[in-house]
């Protein structure tokens, strides 16, 4: 490297540094942070949430902004990594954001909790692990908010549907032991099933990066399960669906959100993508989606995945909190968030519980996949809560 180039590089770094510290906040803008995985393993969701949030920000700004100030989204990459997320959060706080749209990764939420409580800039995320929003002492984490059903609520819906509606009692479970999302959806499910008189005939695990589940599926098949609960990411959902067919194991799959579109088109085999039940945050036909759906499709030329709407609703929540608290600072968002009630979002009517900082009464839309086609079964909320920790 030549002398000149070196000096030039040095200057460039210096300028970048200054720009980072100075250029962030200007008067007529309300900065909102957005922490998503945009370069790591879960970047598909990160991108989806970001796009949804951007659409919401554009819409709000087009309607005159909040209190005459424009919203501005600053996106930080988390690489789905806790350390990156902490750095990113602190960086957002120092650039003056008033609230942060969080990632759909519970592990990051768990790590951010104490830091966010101290910094006082609230995080609105889809951390489905209830520990993110409710501390060990049973009190809500001041700065952490969830905007979709928690893993407990969610797996209760799935478990209740399995046993109360479908009447299936001998259940085989297969989940990724190294993945917090999967584990947090498995435990409450199992407890609910047991409390409701069902039986877990076989509990099989796999770990990150595993591709062949035929061994586990065969064991579950041999244990005489009459359905398979599989709360995992979409990639593995596709594998399990195909491999289930390959070993001739044709009981229903009770799946998580990840079986929502585009899952069936990924399986691309109507014989395999069959006899699968899942719960989605919304129905594609519901009218409140249309606007966002159309904007997204026009902008990106493909159909939005469900995380887009979660991103959109998070911005709506933050806007509503500002409105309720009558100001646009982070204190206002913190004050407004727990009292949000009956907000019409794309994914349902949102009411945040001040006790848990989780939405209450959110139902899910049940679907069955038959021969590669999604058949809507209507919204569902269990009548009874059976698990000991549900409130």
């Amino acid at each position: 490297m030549k002398n000149g180039t070196r000096k030039w590089l040095f200057c460039a770094v210096l300028v970048a540094l200054l720009a980072g510290f100075v250029g962030a906040a200007s008067a007529k803008e309300i900065l909102i942070g957005n922490m998503q995985d945009i370069s790591g393993p879960t970047s598909v969701w990160g991108n989806a949430v970001t796009r949804g949030a951007e659409i919401a920000v554009e819409k709000i700004n087009a309607a005159g902004g909040v209190d005459g100030a424009m919203l501005k989204l600053i996106t930080m990459d988390t690489k789905a990594n806790v350390q990156e997320a902490i750095k990113g959060y602190n960086s957002l706080v120092s650039s003056g954001v008033v609230a942060v749209v969080g990632p759909p990764v519970s592990n990051i939420g768990l790590a951010l909790g104490p830091i966010a409580n101290k910094a006082g800039v609230p995080v609105v995320g889809s951390f489905i692990d209830p520990r993110v929003t409710v501390g060990e002492d049973g009190k809500p984490q001041a700065a952490m908010f969830l905007m979709q059903p928690s893993s407990v609520q969610y797996s209760e819906i799935m478990a209740s549907y399995t046993i109360d509606v479908l009447g299936l009692k001998k259940i085989g479970v297969l989940y990724d032991q190294s993945n917090a999302f999967a584990v947090s959806l498995m435990k409450p499910y199992v407890e609910y099933i047991k409390a409701a008189g069902g039986e877990i005939v076989s509990e099989q695990v796999y770990t990150k990066g595993d591709k062949d589940f035929k061994t586990q599926l065969t064991k579950i098949k041999e244990a005489g399960a009459d359905c398979l609960y599989f709360p995992n990411y979409i990639q593995e959902a596709v594998l399990v669906t195909n491999q289930r067919k390959q070993i001739g194991f044709d009981v229903p799959i009770i799946g998580g959100l990840d079986f929502a579109p585009p899952f069936a088109s990924l399986v691309n085999d109507p014989e395999a993508a069959n006899n699968i039940y899942l719960a989605n945050n919304f129905s594609e036909k519901e009218p409140q989606l249309k606007e966002v759906w159309d904007v997204y499709k026009a902008k990106y030329g493909e159909n939005p995945v469900n995380k887009v709407f979660l991103g959109y609703d998070k911005i709506l929540l933050i806007q509503e909190a500002m409105k309720l608290a009558g100001g646009t600072s982070s204190e206002h968002v913190m004050k407004g968030m727990p009292v949000v009630a009956n907000l019409e979002g794309t994914t349902g009517v949102l009411t945040i519980s001040p006790d848990t900082h989780q939405p209450v009464g959110l139902s899910m839309v049940m679907y069955k996949i038959e021969k590669g086609e999604y058949v809507e079964l209507g919204r569902y909320v269990p009548e009874k809560h059976r698990a000991p920790w549900s409130k």
Partner: protein
Amino acid sequence: MDYFVSTVIFTGIALIGVLGVYLITGLTGLFSLGQAAFMAIGGYVSAVLIRNYNVPVVPAVALAIVAAMLAALLVGLPTVRLRRDYISLVTLGFGEAIVALLNNSANITGGAMGISGIPQLTTLPVVLVSVVVCLALVILYKNSKYGRQCLALRSDELAAKSMGIDVYRLKLITFLFAGALTGYSGVLFGFYTTYLEPAAFNWIISAEWTIIVFVGGVNSLTGTVLATILLTWLPEFLRFASEWRVAIYCVIVLLIVNYRTAGIMGERELSPKTLRRLLGRTKEAPR
């Protein structure tokens, strides 16, 4: 300000971990693709002791370091006799095994959902003091008899053997020392983030640390320190690049590795003499 402090703290924590890799790779010429596992051991042992068994901080930290060293002994004993390439394989397998173990012992470690609510004890002064102490220890080691033997071992194992160096013992000692350092960095990490998850300790982290050592210059401790600072701050500067961040980072590392093969510092250390030379004459460097 918090941002600046947290980045400094993470740099310090990474630096202590990288020092362990420096001992193994830079000084001794071995490859560990499982170094992050020692970090996990340090972090988890201290966190579990404090949280689940109410052990006071100091003994908990001490036990965590001891545990990391024990693990290093466990891996080191059989592997130091193997060829270099096999050491990277065994350490890789060890790292994966530790992650599996953490995932499997959910009742102690919380499994994949991690362990949260660890007290936040790592502050800026703690990290700075730790860095200074660890750095001093590594400098002492490098300049000791062992350090010189390590360098001999690195350049030619057979020759080192014929010089009467007990290479197995030497490798094992280095391995233990590195395990202790990396374990301690794990302790600091857990006490800063207050949350630990097994997924944070995969082989990619170990590989990144090895890359840092090479970017700094294989034999140069100064280079290692500089490279750690540079490469932990670089992604922060690159945040403006959004999703291109990691890609640009990789390109920069590739350029350094290919066009300054000896690393930033080559084999030089920063001393008043080299400093003067660097300032007086920026253009030099055998390329």
